[in-house]
Amino acid sequence: MAITEARPSAAASGSHQLRPGRHPIMEWLTTTDHKKIGIMYLVNSYFWFLVAGLLAMFMRTELAEPGVQYFADERFNELFTMHGTTMIFLFIIPMLAGFGNYIVPLQIGALDMAFPRVNALSFWMLPLAGIVLFSGYLTGGAACAGWTEYPTVSLQACGGSTIATDLWIAALLLVGTSSILGGVNFITTIFNMRAPGMSMFRMPLFTWTMLVTSLLVLLATPVFTSALVLLLIDRNLGGSFFDPAEGGITVMWQNIFWFYSHPAVYVMVLPAMGIISDVLPVFSRKPLFGYKAFVFATAGIGALGFSVWAHHMFATGAVLLPFFSAMTFLIAVPTGVKFFNWIATMWRGKVQFTAAMLFAVGFLTMFLVGGIDGMFLASPVVDFGLTDTYWVVSHIHYVLFGGSVFGVYAGMYYWFPKFTGKRLNEGLGKVHFWLQMIGFNLTFFPMHVLGLLGMPRRIADYIPYDNWTGLNQVETIGSLLIAVSTAPFLANVWLTLRRKDRDPENPWDANSLEWYTTSPPPAHNFDSLPEIRSERPLFDAKHANDLAVHADATTTTETGAR
């Protein structure tokens, strides 16, 4: 139609080999298409999510009653180490990077990522890292010093295995390299590959959060890499960086580790914030309230994220408490700005509680709880009492499960029709949401109470004391509900993929550029692009069309010629 600007597509598709007659498995194994790589990221990450979830179920089973029943101390140490490591490095970070891979080039009107082959390399390091990490179990036992691997514990042999920790280091070096290359790729793509008219302040917010996330990855991850190689040298080549017996400094690991791992917290949550910032306006039928404020708040969180790492180390007594405490409280300010963005977006909108919207609102509420109980920990006085108790476990799960995982599911329900052309079933989606919401709160809310009662984390056994047993049993039942809640989701994906009929190309009537092309998009993404004059190019296109032909103003979900 008149509103679309024709672009050559035959030449474009030529640069992206979709060789007919090639075996589909070979096509997937050798692809450099950001969409296929994105799907592989998502599937691979979700697989590790299920594995790590299984480890969590083992832990909850052990903790259902006092005494040691199934997993003795050493095995339990491996469980929480592998659970944390897998969830963080093989699930949340790559899962969000997977959404980024698929969605960011579409949102900015690009043909692909800037470096498609580097992109494939970034992906293939991840399954390899998972295999290396879990191969520890073949050597007699997996890594066991917690996902933070503090020396001097991490300098020692682990359970039955002397090299499990080295395998852990190798796996994380792979994940880190993958992240860094991904970061370079995202930043270059976003700076250099935007379509004509797609200025920075017209980019969808998910793309903005991926940009800030990538900057954090780029600048923080290599510092972690340096800590990992120092640990590797200490363990295998007689180095003396962390062993006080040889003049090393133990707490130095914590400083370098958290210099990465605190910004990494934002790597794990900013893209989820971006997802719900794309989802909330669509299902409130309003533009996002305060676009620029949201962008600056995102940048602010990213920048402040580099100055708060030592709040993980208050109890060491080796850090400047007032500075790190004040900076930590300060982070609540840009986060608060975002909460007002989100609430004001929904305010007086025509809110539609689809499954995607439910998960987005779930993020909003659960992340708020996680943020507030984190603020308690930002005060050193309170932290001295709560550090290493279940309060900390509760906090991390409210922000990373209540936040990131709810965001991931919001993105899954929202973009699934983009990936496949078919919407997930709303009924099953709602069952999934409510089971998960109830299970999540049953599991993690009582941990606040247990933390205040003084129950330490990372233990396989506890004494029946102050009703610890009752609260632990509630948590175990809740965790079972979370496990059950993945069944309707997996069934939903399976049934939807088998379904024959297709949904409209833009089933949610969304306004960002990824919905302009077909669902799923062709190999070269776009046959044509609309004129981009605002952050809602599809809204403009529809509007211009209505004006041009003097048609009635009923909303059509179709967006013109392709």
Binding site: I180, P222, I256
Partner: protein
């Protein structure tokens, strides 16, 4: 000739990539170098942390480092950076033969640096300073070793660019890879200047 260059620079299908500004490959290299800076930042952070905590630096019994030797190595590496840049200027003028010549000189200087460093390692190890001989040995060999590995990587990069330059793949307009290689080589050079000034010159 100019028409061919334009076709190479704007392959079909990249029609709506922006022209002007920094090219994607150069931007990617700059970002990668930024991450490398942070990597060495972590190593330097560990070095300074251990050094300030040590009662005496260098710890008693450490064999003395030879500043003059390090300064010779510095001269070699810095001049390789200069020759590399002369090569870049040459290809910007379209002088392919000069590019090959200057890349070759840079490569030889880089390998000379590595040989010099290997010789220094040999001398220090014979005097008892090793990776496992204490805090000083650990930091010395880790920092200079990772730098040396980066020099080796850079030398491999130069070799690839050299072979491509010999077959005439670069022109005045199309030589992003040469620029990328030079950026990386200058970065390795700057890291060495940081190492020399902290480990050698500030060791007294």
């Amino acid at each position: 000739m100019a028409a061919t260059d334009a076709a190479v620079q704007h392959p079909p299908g990249a029609g709506h990539q922006r022209t002007g500004g920094i090219s994607s490959s150069l931007l990617g290299m700059v970002l990668f170098i930024a991450s490398e800076v942070m990597f060495f930042g972590g190593l330097f952070g560990a070095y300074f942390t251990l050094r300030t905590a040590a009662p005496e630096w260098p710890p008693p019994g450490t064999p003395p480092l030879e500043d003059w030797y390090a300064l010779i190595l510095t001269a070699v590496l810095v001049s390789s950076s200069v020759t590399m840049q002369i090569g870049v200027f040459a290809i910007r003028r379209g002088d392919q033969r000069a590019l090959v010549r200057w890349l070759l000189i840079s490569l030889v200087l880089g390998l000379l640096f590595l040989a010099g460093q290997a010789n220094e390692y040999r001398m220090l190890i014979s005097e008892g300073l090793t990776l496992s001989s204490g805090v000083f040995g650990s930091t010395f060999f880790t920092l200079t070793g990772f730098h040396g590995a980066h020099v080796a990587g850079g030398a491999a990069f130069i070799l690839v660019v050299l072979l491509r330059a010999r077959s005439g793949q670069f022109t005045s307009r199309y030589h992003d890879t040469v620029e990328m290689c030079s950026y990386y080589w200058h970065f390795v050079d700057v890291v060495w200047l940081g190492l020399v000034s902290t480990i050698y010159l500030l060791s007294a």
